[in-house]
């Protein structure tokens, strides 16, 4: 891919790469804006920019990640995701085959999630101005009337559910990026969760909050929830699913899996009465087979997340600072 011809190159990419994969009745209009019918309820609108490195990793690539991430951001707000935009910043020299692979996986991810990529944009920049490819996706969805899912809704007594194993995505990215040989079986969990969430909301309509524990992992997400609702959260260490290979790699690297990013997991906070139904709905879904009740919301220690260890002591789970810092003196 070469930079310079500007508009002409973008047009060419649109015709040769984007439209064949992403084409759909809305996008095919190729107007300056996408137009579609509104649905009842409130509109949910989100945006995220994906700059992950490496762009290809076990279990996915930057393309499906950009679709799944935005779909999940809508779904965890209780919305039914409908339309996405896709903005590409491409570094000159990016192999066309790589771009094509990425766009194809975006199309596949959108199809699986049942969303339409409704508009898009492409810019090609000089070498060094970005790292191969950056993708921005924005998304629009509709929240059915009467649904109220919010990070301020947590109540003492609620159950905390997790849809599956943690740390897979972050460990896959880290070990691939650093070329560590001991990670061979770790795959990203990148997946769109709107289907599973829709099933769950049928049987557990009173879900208080949902969040996808992406950057900062379960530790960051639960701390944010505890803070927003001024409640405490108590986790049960033994109940938190972690794949053996992820646990092993994390232990070697001195990383707590609780702080590692996920891209296909969701935390559900639900009144205790609906916990079992919600769990069953998740487990019935392909993305929730290993779902578990991992903790509860408590009145004690508002704003703080505490984890009960198998020995019965309680360890404070802090907001991760980014880098692991030794603290043992």
């Amino acid at each position: 891919m070469a930079h310079g011809a500007g508009g002409r190159l973008s047009q060419e990419l649109t015709a040769r790469v984007f439209m064949p994969h992403l084409g759909n009745p809305v996008l095919d209009q190729l107007d300056d804006q996408a137009r579609f019918e509104a649905e009842p309820g409130r509109i949910a609108f989100t945006t995220d920019t994906y700059v992950v490195s490496p762009i290809f990793f076990p279990g996915g690539n930057i393309g499906d990640l950009a679709v799944n991430g935005t779909v999940n951001d809508l779904a965890v707000g209780g919305a039914v995701p409908r339309y996405l935009s896709a903005g590409f910043v491409l570094e000159e020299g990016l192999p066309l085959a790589d771009l094509e692979r990425i766009v194809a996986s975006m199309a596949e991810a959108a199809r699986k999630a049942g969303v339409v990529i409704a508009c898009g944009d492409t810019k090609v920049v000089q070498k060094g101005q970005c790292d191969r490819i950056f993708i921005n996706t924005s998304g629009v969805g509709f929240i059915p009337p009467g649904r109220d899912v919010s990070c301020r809704n947590l109540r003492p007594g609620d159950a905390v559910l997790l849809s599956g194993t943690i740390g897979d995505h972050g460990m896959a990215i880290l070990t691939t990026r650093e070329g560590l040989s001991f990670q061979s079986r770790i795959r990203s969990d990148s997946a769109a969760l709107n289907g599973m969430i829709a099933d769950l909301l049928v049987v557990a309509p009173n879900v208080h909050a949902m969040r996808d524990p992406t950057r900062g992992g379960v530790a960051a997400t639960l701390n944010e929830l505890a803070n927003s609702s001024s409640v405490g959260i108590e986790l049960d260490e033994a109940a938190i699913p972690v794949r053996e290979e992820v646990r092993g790699a994390a232990e070697l690297l001195g990383i707590d899996p609780l702080t590692v990013a996920n891209e296909g997991k969701v935390l559900i906070i639900v009144p205790a009465a609906e916990a079992d139904a919600a769990l069953a709905a998740m487990r019935a879904h392909e993305h929730g087979k290993e779902a578990a009740i991992v903790g509860k919301v408590v009145e004690e220690h508002p704003g703080m997340v505490v984890m009960r260890t198998p020995f019965g002591s309680r360890r404070i789970v802090e907001m991760p600072l980014g880098e692991q810092l030794p603290r043992i003196c």
Partner: protein
């Protein structure tokens, strides 16, 4: 003649004088007023004694000689729990027609400045009471008097009066009331005074919490222990888990139930004679053992130790304490001669103190519970001391010592030092004194965090002050940092090793700058890396980082603290040492760790000295996994067999980033070569310690040469290493340096909050400069 003589005697009789003594310190709630009353009687003085806002005021009138003797006795014979910090004398006018000497109630409205006494071991007189079948307190487990018993752990509020203690639920029977009101009685105003009729009662419960009925709970408990059962026993500051120390199977059962692999247990033995049968005891150690503080003393095991082998495996020391409550005393007289007595908790969390909590949390560990109905207001672990470098020094300062103040060189505004992350103890500086809390533990543990919060509030309440500044460690992930920042008060973050230095200087009331050798595991540095082997020059206001150990990679960060072979690999990798002939390279996962090192992933840089011991222990093949903190370092020291080699390995200094780096690679290469050539751990340990002494002494000389300073402060957990500390102190002292080492406070992180507090005062005075770059 007779007449004349009588007249002569009369005329020789000196005129009466009246003196007023203002006594400050721990003089309330410790039997000071009846003590003064008795002295006044002995020296035929009239007057009064009264508690005041700042201590005790005594006015006495009588012959000048007797007044002098009274004053001398006031100092020399003060009750065991009293600590006279100041005594001001004043001549005042005589008072006409005073009938005698009286104890006055403290005038209301006056603000009470009560220094709460630490908890003190049962005294000899009370022991006699409980051993005497004719005494009404015969075998009574809660016997105490003004000279002994619980204090700090039962105080809920001040002033120190029974209604404000956990004794409030027990109303005195007429006999106890009489003692309480009689100045001639040993129990005059003894707030926890109790007897079998009116005081706390023992109860024995099974695992399900069911009360077991026995005529004599202590006898029954003793039998359970003799039968190998694990008992949870409620003591002064919390519960212990106890087993017969001679029953190997029982000790191992306790280990497996508690999930504690090899960390040594402490034992409580009947008396000094029994302690002597287990360990070698020097004169100072004996004094410490039998002191009213009754700490655990780390003693040298006898070769023929007749106790369960798994009490302190691989350790040549044994933690020993003597019974410090009447309950312990009775139990050890009738049960096994030596009991393992370990804090009832899970590693590094505060010990369990509440009955219901004990029944719930210890149900999986204890076979039965020996408890009582006197609540514990503030939990407090046993203290630990060790004889090292010519003094008995603190390892953990808690029961018996907290909250007795440390006297400071200067007075200043109230400041709270929040301490470190592990072995936490906080410090409240008020006026000319610093009050160190009991040991609080690992702040990442939620119970410890709550305990910290509680103690911080409690101490400010009982010492009637509110800190103007909260000082915390620079480490952003320390829970003490989080706590400080959440209080909505002014805060200051100070560098970890600066706090170590300031703490050592403050403890010694040293003014002016000194050279500090600060050696510990890791502490957060001003450059966001982990420091831990530092030569700082300065004082509480600020310090220069003159030199540090060469930073080395810690693969997996804190994971390397347990898997010490990782540290070894990190340091050997950095030193360019190849794997041949070294066991540490043959650990499972060594290949993966080497890959991390090659790629620089998951490794934190650290100049920690504690980690150096870990690395050398593993390179020498001595130990690759530590089951408790410091295990590898302890065993490396022991491997030297108390000897230090004449010649060490190579070391060097290199100027980098504005400081001297103490190079470790040359030594690591030589150790690796020596191990390959067949050198044993003993040889390596002896030469390694020599190298460290040589290198640190050299760094101190360099610092002294630059600055002219001749005082060297040692602080940091590494100085718990007897071999290194004694050799280094000897080296420095024989070169004309004055060496300051912690004595009243632990040299580990349990002592840094004092440093933080005095640094905070410098900050409030506008003198704080922090850590400065070294420009020579």
């Amino acid at each position: 003649m007779a007449d004349l003589e009588a007249r002569g005697a009369l005329s020789a009789r000196p005129k009466s004088e009246r003196r007023r003594f203002a006594v400050g310190g721990i003089v309330q709630g410790v039997g000071f007023r009846p003590f003064a009353w008795r002295l006044a009687g002995r020296f035929e003085l009239t007057g009064f004694v009264r508690n005041t806002g700042s201590g005790v005021v005594i006015e006495v009138e009588g012959e000048p000689d007797n007044l002098d003797r009274f004053e001398a006795a006031l100092r020399d014979e003060a009750p065991p729990l009293a600590r006279i910090a100041s005594l001001v004398r004043q001549e005042i006018a005589l008072v006409e027609g005073e009938p005698g000497f009286v104890i006055l109630e403290s005038s209301s409205g006056e603000s009470m400045q009560t220094l709460i006494s630490p908890d003190i071991a049962v005294c000899a007189a009370c022991l006699r009471d409980i051993a005497d079948s004719a005494n009404r307190r015969y075998r009574y487990a809660f016997t105490n008097c003004t000279d002994c018993g619980p204090r700090y752990t039962i105080v809920e509020r001040i002033p120190y009066d029974r209604p404000f203690t956990t004794m409030k639920g027990f109303s005195l029977c007429p006999e106890c009331q009489r003692e309480y009101g009689d100045p001639a009685d040993r129990r005059f105003h003894a707030q926890p005074n109790a007897c079998p009729v009116c005081g706390p009662k023992l109860e024995l419960r099974d695992v399900s919490g069911l009360r077991l009925e026995f005529d004599d709970e202590i006898l029954a408990a003793g039998e359970l222990l003799s039968g190998g059962k694990i008992l949870a026993i409620k003591g002064v500051g919390g519960f212990h888990l106890a087993v017969d120390a001679s029953n190997e199977e029982a000790v191992q059962r306790l280990r497996s139930r508690k999930g504690r692999e090899e960390k040594p247990f402490a034992v409580m033995v009947r008396d000094l004679a029994a302690a002597r049968e287990l360990c070698e005891i020097g004169a100072d150690e004996e004094v410490a053992l039998a002191s009213p503080q009754a700490p655990i003393v780390l003693l040298r095991k006898r070769a023929d130790l007749r106790l369960a082998a798994s009490i302190a495996p691989g350790n040549d020391r044994l933690g020993v304490m003597l019974p410090y409550s009447p309950l312990h005393f009775l139990l050890l007289r009738e049960g096994p001669e030596a009991l393992v007595m370990t804090s009832a908790n899970f590693s590094e969390e505060p010990l369990v103190a509440d009955n219901a909590e004990a029944l719930e949390r210890l149900a999986g560990i204890a076979d039965a519970f020996l408890m009582h109905d006197r609540p514990i207001a503030r939990r407090c672990d046993d203290s630990v001391v060790v004889q090292l470098a010519g003094a008995v020094r603190m390892i953990r300062r808690s029961r018996g010592y907290a909250p007795a103040p440390i006297r400071l060189l200067e007075s200043g505004p109230p400041v709270l030092g929040t301490g470190g992350e592990l072995k936490n103890a906080l410090c409240l500086a008020k006026g000319g004194e610093a009050f160190m809390s009991q040991h609080i533990g690992d702040m990442k543990n939620y119970e410890a965090y709550r305990h910290f919060d509680d103690v911080a509030a409690h101490m400010q309440r009982i010492f009637r002050t509110e800190a103007e500044l909260l000082v915390h460690d620079l480490h952003p992930a320390y829970m003490t940092t989080r706590w400080a920042l959440e209080q909505g008060k002014p805060t200051l973050g100070v560098q970890h090793h600066h706090a170590h230095l300031a703490s050592c200087l403050a403890e010694h009331r040293h003014s002016g700058p000194a050279i500090g050798l600060m050696l510990d595991g890791v502490g957060y540095g001003t450059d966001d890396t982990a420091w831990g082997g530092e030569v700082l020059i300065g004082d509480a206001a600020g310090a220069v980082r003159f030199a540090s150990l060469e930073p080395m990679p810690l693969p997996g960060g804190d994971a390397a603290v347990r898997q010490v072979w990782r540290t070894a690999l990190g340091w050997l990798h950095r030193s360019g040492v190849s794997p041949e002939g070294l066991e540490c390279f043959r650990q499972p996962q060594a290949a993966q760790v080497l890959e991390m090192l090659d790629k620089g992933v998951g490794t934190a840089e650290s100049s920690g000295c504690g980690r150096l011991f870990d690395a050398v222990a593993s390179v020498s093949g001595l130990r690759h996994e530590a089951h408790y903190e410091g295990q590898a370092a302890i065993e490396l020291m022991q491997a030297a067999g108390g000897r230090i080699a004449d010649a060490g390995y190579s070391f060097g200094f290199e100027r980098q980033h504005g400081r001297w780096l103490m190079l470790l690679s040359p030594m690591l290469r030589e150790i690796a070569a020596a191990v390959r050539a067949g050198a044993g751990a003993t040889e390596v340990a002896q030469r390694f310690h020599r190298t460290l002494v040589g290198m640190l002494a050299e760094a101190a000389h360099m610092a002294s040469h630059e600055t002219g300073l001749k005082t060297i402060a040692l602080s940091g957990g590494v100085f718990q290493n007897q071999l290194l500390t004694e050799a280094l102190a000897h080296n420095l002292e024989s070169n004309g340096y004055k060496v300051l080492m912690h004595e009243q406070l632990p040299t580990n992180d349990g002592g840094i909050s004092l440093g933080q507090a005095v640094i905070g005062r410098e900050f409030l005075r506008g003198r704080y400069k922090g850590i400065m770059n070294c420009e020579l």
